[in-house]
Symmetry: D2
């Protein structure tokens, strides 16, 4: 958690106070269930809820002695609850508390991330419609291909993050489980109904079979999903970085008045936000690997997962939350230069329309190979002129071409609307009716 890359709401989930609050609720709900089952006195459960309290410093102090965080917490809790505290945690094992708590934290983190995605989707949709018809050149391999619209780029981003939203819902579902099953998960010392009660009270499902720990394949899937979302952030960030290049300059991150781009070159406006996001993505992606390595715990459990999760739990979710918010901000305020988009498109003297000419020739009865060669010999001249001569003009003068495709028809082939005629169809697919 680097402060500058951390937002308070997500950080709060991982703070000691939040953790102990969740521990308390797990224990207190478990007491309720135990009381309902007659295992402990109802007054004990009541006492826990009423007098339950803790102090972080005191817990730390006890932990330094007993070297066990849950025992430290329970000891401190007992100092407040008094004698009835002996009914707390009965039949439970530390992992019941720790794993259920971790899952609750991950669920809450997922909820924030889904909210983040919702906000990003709103922005992407708005900007996509704003630029639905803003023509720009489509590029494959970084090379001009055929025209697209800037709105289409954003619609693609929308569709991608909409998929991420579904993935996050699945990931949330993966970890929304509760285990209160005792030492090795057999419920030997605790009734399964306690687990069911606590699960319901906390909005979770009982883990069908736990083995002291909640199985880590769930968490592996969760962190793998964060990694995929991060990779999508990288994709859109790289797009912005490309568009902001000096030679391209079709879009630019918003540049606030007081901001200095460089200590040395006052004219520079650097896409530092999306570069930052590119780096964050690398980091979030990397966390998926140790999360997967955590799956193969030994027998009913070992604790090797713990040091990993203490890091990647907060680090991955905080970084992803921050990244989504930053990306939303970037896209919300992205300065778009439609005029530059047109300028760039026109640099190639009509070459992006060569595909249409190729088709027209084929449909006029020229073989595929011959058509290809006819287009190519003119296109290469345009290319070598750096766009100074226009493909249409050359084609008009190429009698082998005009013998098959008359001039008027050639001119029609260079009409830009041709490329955008299905934009509405695509928007309908992506955004619905």
């Amino acid at each position: 958690m680097i402060p500058r890359y951390t937002r308070p709401q997500m950080a709060a989930i991982w703070e000691p106070e939040a953790r102990f609050r969740i521990w308390f609720e797990i224990e207190a709900h478990a007491c309720d269930a135990q009381a309902k089952l007659g295992v402990i006195p109802a007054s004990a459960a009541k006492a826990v809820w009423e007098r339950g309290a803790w102090e972080i410093d005191r817990i730390d102090e006890i932990e330094r002695e007993v070297k066990h965080d849950v025992i430290a917490f329970l000891t401190n809790l007992a100092e407040h609850v008094g004698d009835e505290a002996r009914f707390v945690h009965q039949g439970m094992t530390s992992s019941d508390v720790l794993d259920t708590c971790f899952n609750i934290q991950l669920v809450r983190a997922a909820d924030l991330i889904i909210e983040d995605l919702d906000k990003l989707l709103v922005v992407l949709k708005r900007r996509a419609y704003e630029h639905k018809d803003t023509i720009c050149i489509g590029r494959s391999h970084g090379i001009h291909a055929e025209p697209v619209t800037f709105g289409l780029k954003l619609a693609q981003a929308y569709a991608e993050f909409d998929r991420c939203r579904t993935r996050m819902i699945n990931a949330r579902e993966e970890v929304a489980t509760c285990a209160i099953s005792g030492a090795v998960g057999t419920f030997a010392n605790i009734d399964p109904r306690v687990e069911e009660h606590v699960a319901e009270a906390l909005g979770l499902k009982p883990e069908p079979v736990s083995t002291q720990v909640i199985p880590r394949d769930r968490h592996a899937m969760y962190f793998a999903t964060l990694a995929v979302v991060a990779s999508c952030i990288e994709r859109l960030s790289v797009e912005v970085r490309h568009l902001q290049r000096t030679e391209v300059l079709e879009a630019e991150e918003y540049f606030s008045a007081g901001q200095k781009g460089s200590s040395a070159m006052p004219h520079k406006r650097n896409p530092i936000l999306t570069e930052n996001l590119t780096g964050q993505a690398r980091l979030i992606r990397a966390f998926a690997i140790p999360a997967m390595e955590n799956v193969a715990l030994w027998h009913e459990r070992d604790i090797s997962h713990s040091s990993v999760e203490r890091n990647i739990g907060p680090d991955a979710t905080v970084a992803l939350d921050f990244s989504l918010a930053r990306l939303t901000n970037v896209m919300d305020n992205l300065v778009v230069y439609p005029e530059n988009m047109l300028d760039n498109m026109n640099k190639l003297g009509g070459l992006p329309n060569s595909q249409r000419v190729l088709l027209a020739l084929t449909q006029a009865g020229v073989s595929r190979e011959d058509s290809y060669r006819l287009v190519q010999r003119n296109a290469m001249k345009v290319w070598e002129s750096k766009g100074a001569v226009h493909l249409l003009d050359l084609l008009k003068e190429d009698e082998t071409v005009t013998a098959k495709v008359p001039v008027a028809e050639l001119e029609e082939l260079f009409n830009m609307d041709y490329h955008t005629k299905h934009v509405d169809t695509i928007f309908r697919r992506v955004f619905g009716a």
Copy 2:
């Protein structure tokens, strides 16, 4: 694809013949749709289906010249179809064929993997019920904890692979899309209805918005899912390896008659199959990272993903298919030694029951801390005797204990059935009614 780790059905999906067959079907279905739309003659579509053919050697030969695989294929196809071949591939781009084909291959691979999982689940369920009541010690940190049953271990594995099944269905869904959208995905040169037709004919959904390529977040999620499944394979493999250790020997991989374990030590039976699976898991897991790095292609596409996918497409699916089949075989034939399980359990002189004693003391009104100390002082003696003295015997002689928990009650605390009373509940949760 290492031959010894490859099964023919999965390998077949990735062979040139299968690939060209899919390419052909995509092109031929597209011709049908184009003919239906009146873009090309119906006779052309018919000719493609009727005369369509290709030879791998010839394609290779053409590709060496034109350095483009799809053009090579189309050229060879044209040699068979004849003049009407000029209507093939109209308005399409190579990626339409390549990406849709890759997705079909991934879908078929997913289908095989789901079948593999189904077979594994059948085996795990059978063996779980077989050993539902086979008592063995549960271990946390590799240290004896409390009793479980071997069936519970297998039920946990079943639940884990059942989750993997759901994940694979999601992963399959992720990549079951078709793109026939032309040069930069705008449908400028091809009607979106062609895509819809081809998609339906091939059991896919149209990609809502493609940009020449099908977006790679789908594939990232797919390979991330394979990686999680592999991690689950690793978990169960590591369990088997642990159980087969000389000192533990609670289970053993089936050892065929002719097999030699080692050139030097004839007595050795090594868990080489599960060790192999542990390695395979490392490999499959690693493939998730480049798949995620593939997401951020430049603009509408670049081709950096291709060399990655040519490797991990076959390598990850072949390895996972092989691994699941091998794991199924291992679990199907696993030799289980219930007697050794009991022997191991009894090594600790009843220590695994200490938790029960702790609870009994607490319930008899002793404070949590005092109970802990009472149990601990007896348990340590057992521990130091290496199980030669039994905890029950010591407790009976500890008057502070018997003052609170009478001898008869103490004896009941060491009844093994206590630990298995909820096995049926857990089995019901995992396997249904």
Copy 3:
């Protein structure tokens, strides 16, 4: 940086105070060089050294306004230095300061890690000699193979960490460079001799060619090296965890008096330290990937590496420092049970000597295949008896065997010294004369 997994000396390297101190020194040394070259007044350099000061809070305050950390620092510095501050940072770019500083931090971190390794090596050597002749069974595949000594295991660990030491020295060398080369590394605005001066003053080498940034392949190699060291930590940790298993119990992590192993099972002593190290290794290993992804910065630089390095710089070095110290502590205090080692070895009724018998038979003229079968048929009986019958006894009764290898010779084959005769040779190789 999780506090509980952080040691103060390493943390100090990464604290703002240390960073600003390094920034200051870079700037001040650069002023010295500039003054020597006559570019700025000598009095200015003097003023910087004498009056140079900064306050973290003030820097933060300025940074919030200018959104640029180096400018914020320089502004604050100027508040102290006064008018002569205008000579500071002349011809330099922020990256000159940031990258040189980061390298200094990595060098210092490497120095601490090398110290850690030295301490670990001392402990491993001491314990290796202590247990040079402590016989224990060697295991391949977790199965008993032939005898080794516990000292040999430690000698292997020593050799491995000694290689790590060399690797860390190489890694340190990789990043021990300094760049003061201006905006795009051309020295257009600053004399290369400034870089040379600063490099020498700070114990670094000038970066031969920088491009605003110091090339990140250096850092990739550095973090990859940390990852390999972490993997070695994992290996030794896994060894300890295996040895501490209930059924094996040949060694145990030191268990302090006040420590509670589990809230539920007072008899348990869990290898939680080495489990923790196993997890830490996963984390440190993962950091290598984003470090490698950082190499391909765009053109002369982009800043995507920065968010990665702000995390992995401290996180990887802090975790590795902590892990090495913890491992040293574990190995220093490891409780070794030679008696249990012998007990374990004897469980197999002499099977580990089967290889010797095999050789003896071969040397007595029996074909390799026949020897193998002769040994195997006796060994299998021992195996099935769970060590109740002894291989030597069976062999003595096997006339086909004794016809080739007389009884007296057979008995000699089971002499344990046979296996340890080259321990001294190996120790000499590892530890020197």
Copy 4:
């Protein structure tokens, strides 16, 4: 190993024939040593060398029965050598052969890679000198910064790959070891001098302490090194891809006459080779992770590393060899457009010189902050004019500026040679005198 991405020399290292030849040499050299020590008859060693032979098909056939590759090989070898074959492999274990062989293969692969690097370095040096003074704009964040030369970019690449060369030499050294130490590495059944003999005969060093296997930290370091080299390939590839972008077009991959760039757009020349290399880099990088996970084998060995290495051994080295050769080819034939470089540079109306103006103002006594503002207000006008107005012209008209820096001096500030004056120094650092 994808055939299209595989070069024969590297592939040959990994073919069965090469492997069995190495196995044979290890066994035969070991026989020599054993004969010298009097352990086996000299005639036996001679027989092995003279009659030693094998057939891959026959080995496969035997392996199908015995399920052990080394035994299969030895059995087949014995069929040729005859009775004296019983002296082969005495006291050795399969891993002695397998691990030593794998190391030899890795050493040979490293040798090829070092050769590849040498060739790449030759090309980079030649092209660097060719373009030592070819001015182009330096870019940070993809934004024009200050001028560099194209030769400097190549010098940086040279320095980077020169470091890779050193790293590969270290990596080769890491794995250039030989183990002939028997079942668990104790030399119980074989004299250490056999290992020394074989090591020397094969150009290796004896592994100081092996434990049946050669420790895998060596291989982890090896594959981590390949991953770093791959990341450097990615960097240069990304640079080429950027330079070939339509809007930039400062350089281009060589485009052979017969090659078709796209089935649809005949004008396109795509940087597909460097895109391919970008993908290859992702793959090679990923292999480092399982190589590191292979380090923590259980106790003296398990075989989980094997399935990983069967894949990554060939796959990583073949891909890296191919990538280096392809990159060499790309750089050797790279079409460079110095004129476009100048055109691009001039797009910004002199803004890249703003840093010089800033310095000049500071040196003329203007405060750093005021200088910054003076330059910024003029620079922003140039920026907004898209380079239509020139910074120099604006500055000449800005009286606050000319009051401090006279016009003649301003003009000098825009002299391009200023930026290249230290190119020779840098070249000297990189390429030597």
